[in-house]
Subunit: 394 residues, 4 copies
Amino acid sequence: MIDFSLPDDVVELRDRARAFVADVVIAAEPRDRSEHGLDEGLRRELQGAARAAGVFAPQVPRELGGLGLDTRGMAVVFEEAGYSILGPQALNCAAPDEGNMHMLHLIATDEQRDRYLAPLAAGDTRSCFAMTEPAPGAGSDPSMLQTTATRVDGGWSITGRKWFITGAEGAAFAICMARAPEGATMFLVDAENPGWRIERVVDAMDRSFPGGHAEVVFQDCRVPEDAVLGAVGEGFRYAQVRLAPARLTHCMRWLGLARRALDTAIDRAGEREAFGSKLAELGMVQERIAQSVIDVETSRALIWQCAWALDQGQPARHESSVAKAHVGEAVGRIVDRALQICGSLGVSGDSPLARIYAEVRPFRIYDGPTETHHWAIARRAVRDRERARADVRA
Amino acid sequence: MIDFSLPDDVVELRDRARAFVADVVIAAEPRDRSEHGLDEGLRRELQGAARAAGVFAPQVPRELGGLGLDTRGMAVVFEEAGYSILGPQALNCAAPDEGNMHMLHLIATDEQRDRYLAPLAAGDTRSCFAMTEPAPGAGSDPSMLQTTATRVDGGWSITGRKWFITGAEGAAFAICMARAPEGATMFLVDAENPGWRIERVVDAMDRSFPGGHAEVVFQDCRVPEDAVLGAVGEGFRYAQVRLAPARLTHCMRWLGLARRALDTAIDRAGEREAFGSKLAELGMVQERIAQSVIDVETSRALIWQCAWALDQGQPARHESSVAKAHVGEAVGRIVDRALQICGSLGVSGDSPLARIYAEVRPFRIYDGPTETHHWAIARRAVRDRERARADVRA
Amino acid sequence: MIDFSLPDDVVELRDRARAFVADVVIAAEPRDRSEHGLDEGLRRELQGAARAAGVFAPQVPRELGGLGLDTRGMAVVFEEAGYSILGPQALNCAAPDEGNMHMLHLIATDEQRDRYLAPLAAGDTRSCFAMTEPAPGAGSDPSMLQTTATRVDGGWSITGRKWFITGAEGAAFAICMARAPEGATMFLVDAENPGWRIERVVDAMDRSFPGGHAEVVFQDCRVPEDAVLGAVGEGFRYAQVRLAPARLTHCMRWLGLARRALDTAIDRAGEREAFGSKLAELGMVQERIAQSVIDVETSRALIWQCAWALDQGQPARHESSVAKAHVGEAVGRIVDRALQICGSLGVSGDSPLARIYAEVRPFRIYDGPTETHHWAIARRAVRDRERARADVRA
Amino acid sequence: MIDFSLPDDVVELRDRARAFVADVVIAAEPRDRSEHGLDEGLRRELQGAARAAGVFAPQVPRELGGLGLDTRGMAVVFEEAGYSILGPQALNCAAPDEGNMHMLHLIATDEQRDRYLAPLAAGDTRSCFAMTEPAPGAGSDPSMLQTTATRVDGGWSITGRKWFITGAEGAAFAICMARAPEGATMFLVDAENPGWRIERVVDAMDRSFPGGHAEVVFQDCRVPEDAVLGAVGEGFRYAQVRLAPARLTHCMRWLGLARRALDTAIDRAGEREAFGSKLAELGMVQERIAQSVIDVETSRALIWQCAWALDQGQPARHESSVAKAHVGEAVGRIVDRALQICGSLGVSGDSPLARIYAEVRPFRIYDGPTETHHWAIARRAVRDRERARADVRA
């Protein structure tokens, strides 16, 4: 039956995560000077503090040392982690590692788990997911995949160019999607493999992902047979398995960041005066605050609904598309309004908003631009309606 | 724990209501020629059919002959009822009767229940709620209440003018809010009481409410002591008790109507061709469909969340404000997009959209204009944030 | 050189038209009880008054008894006429007659001028333009034209079905677009011709067009050779000649109506109090007023720019598309905001807004839906940019 | 009479400026590595090239070595300059110098002209305008001015703190607004004056202003009597003289930058394929392009109208508020849509969009946030309407 309550243990963990972010992570923000994500030292320090605070790796299965949350629990706790840009890294629930752990847990062989998943779950390594390609390859339309995998003696040879590969710099391994004769296939490629290299790190607006977004080149990159993740030819199917939850956990974290922006604006509006009133008493400011509250609450409700569907074992492709499209736009609006309320303070480095503004803009593009999701949602709506009418006629 | 599932009996009732609306109510729509709501004959006919189909009075307690749904069940079934403008009347869950039944059930004395609530629940009578006043009286700001109630021998004398009193024409009684010396108070006033009269029925855009919206005048209207509903001076508190759920059930019904508009547009888009494609294959049309799907799903999620809160016994003032503000605007957008997709067909009487367009516009004003809710939401957000910061400092 | 000034005679005529609308036309509004446009008696009365006031037929050439304004002068005066729904009819500058006069003036033979244009310009007759067809015919995509014209002894036989033909009921003649072997062709068809009939008047949201919008059927409708308007096969070209200015004059009139809505809201906001302030002092209301002022001013600027281009003899297809797309949406927003500011008064017949709301909604669809214009604007922008780059490379 | 044509000499200058920006300025963009505006060497180099190309200082009076454009001519040429972030600096028409030159030209004594204006017009120096203060001082509400000027022997002593003072770092002098006993007064303060210092340069989102935005402190800053600019006590009136045109020239330049973003997106949409079509053929992309074209054209029309009003000697406070509010928002939308069309390319440094996105965001705040203009526009609209009604009653 419809229920929006949270179990006590999730409430406790949420409160613990909230306090940890407020007391430890936000306090560390001024020390974050790295160009991409946390520098390794600060990352380890914060992860250690998170472990000590009992909030480390909340989504990781207990047998791998995590707190074993289901997707609904993740929705609650990741939102808290996202309240600071550094929070997800501190809790080891940042993209792309979090999505990679999820997929490895579902698909990897025991050997692959030991070798790749265990150190990732412990925060000892980082990883990347190499799917997107520069034009004319696989961008928002994965069917345009151009990287090839051909069988060679003792394994495979991968050749192709990938773009916007988050976290490649510094990753211990890549999960690379390539087109084998049997269809798209995923391969585990070690960082040491000389067959691929990072050509450059893209100068992107956001800089909260460790390693940034890299352009990488695979050139006759040789991998053994057991580097195949899952079954040959099933790459797109696995990508779907990864995409819906990965897209949703993005929403969770970014919703937290949007809440941070909103709180920053409310605090400012309660202090700053203009035209004889506090900003918080001016109707135009109140309207922006209210619209942002509504954006937060609709976003959270869609996230929870999709999380519930995933926990029921549903593929949740529709739910995750709807959530991604709405939350991406809503987060953008919330941050934009917050910045506007704060005026020139908002566009300066004296408040966290200018950076948050740059961080969240790509979210409307990453993991499927809003328009791609709109297209998918509409096609599904038309098809469902045609079926419903056919049922009535039958 | 977060749960979006529905119990089997609610699913069955939903499906029954959906089929009843599709087969019986929509079929009756062309016979609805009345200027305001259903004419009495068609109303009784459809209510009889609803009773036979097992979908009558879904929200009414079982002891009064209803189906005894809680608020979450209402959310599901009222949305189906709202799919036709005539549905809520057929199921006896239309405003203002539905809200009045709810309040009477909570507050009325046994005698008042027998006399007013029982026949209302059975569909034998209609009622109205007389609170809103013309300027400079109580509009969106109830504190401006000007109608007075003064003690006279054996009871009270009520004097004042009310405006936009839905369903007054044809109502068996009014619940009238007036300012007594102890504060705002509610009175039950019979239709036969010569102390009040309907001055006119306002020529409003919408015409689905039986009796329309009337301007009524109370002139030394004498009522006995036992006409007081609940306690003297507690009128505003009761109004709050009524308002949150009444506002939410409006959202439920109107969401159903918005879905009807969207389905109408999708059907049209799947048939009509322009520029060499079906409309449903054009990106601009797809975007409008997708945005409407998202509006439906965010609306439903907020309604369910507020319904759950009410079922927990929470006052849900914040939740109902957020839901009303969002759903009102979302419904307006959905219907507007549907009409635009359908082109000149949409603005003609050949499709149901032109009427739906006129019906839903006032929803952004009734039960508190969007702006009033924005104001309340913002003030609450600022206050909550101030408290949270004070807690941290403490 | 860029100039936004008006010549003295246009200013005088504008002020005269403004006063006439305020004093005579708005005063007559309560007498407008007809279901479609003005009834014949009131139309003649107001046209007589307009003639007496020196504001009749401002766009008609002087040799035909009008005031001979160019398009820029029309922009100024039509906006004033549009301030009342009845104004354009009173001044004999309403659609579709105004556009038909324009086209006849450009294309008709002397005989056709005497027979059709002169009485139309004098307000003695009305006319209609029969182009749009029901699905799967010519809707927003004129190339789907299905009505045929075949040569018969002594002339032509026209067969087809037309839809949403504004003013057909009561028109002295129709200008009918049909597909001849040589291409789309326009024909002048007298009302008395037994080969066509009005099947019904569509029940549309708007009701300010005399005769409403009819569905008409041409069945082997015989017309003589001299019924061809202009040259055979040139119908689409003439339609373009008519469409750009006709679309623009729609914008002019509707902008006037939007200003009426805005003024109505400002007046209300200056009187009505809520929450301790006049509405006009509340930030949310102020923001809506300001956004509407901006919508008025951007709309007027685009209209003036397109009018200037037309007066230079340019086809102004781009300018009229941009103006139509923007003004249509802007007018819709202005009226919607006005209604929201006025609250339940706005949705009642006690203010003119509810009717204006229904009148302007179809404007976003008539004369090309916004989306069709967006499509045309984008294609032109892409093409222009390709050319500019090719020029640079050359 | 309404006219949108340009005189031949303005067309020639526009084309020359366009070619100069395309060939010289854009080519220099990759060399712009400075954190704030152009470094001094590149600035001088580009200004020299502009002088050689006959496009230097287009707004400066001819007697000071400029091209002597009126405001309408500036509207045309500044838009071209703005097409590159570096263009306005190259042409010596960037803020805040351009506005300071305008004000000095109107108010300065001959000695002040020689000393401050002449080298500024020649590009030999830069300047700043020190009005805005940190909370609780003069932000968007100038009446909160807290910096004081008191009479001392031989002149004045200025004390106060200023914030977001654009171009202070590196400026040869500041125009400082302070509260004298007679009212707000402007003072010319040399960079060498030891009574003021730059405390820090604010880390703002935008970085195209030479010198960035500084926080500066005036501490018993002594200036002689002839440092007063204009008359004592007239500071706010002069600020108005400066503000309307300065705000409008901002709009001109930023409109050019928005056009650059739009062209970038159109170019990309014409090349990149997804889902079997070029992006430029997808409806959702076409709609964004069309909306941006409309935003460009409405913006330009308002700018031209306000420029015309200023050229007529009107104060144009209303026109410049309307233009600023609309153009600021429109530019933001155009750039946002362009970035979205370009996808992950757009958020990377591989396209100019990410930087443009950061550059234009503050424009909705600088020179009066949109909301402040909305407030002013609404108050004026209400007042004008009250007067119009009073006239009718009189």
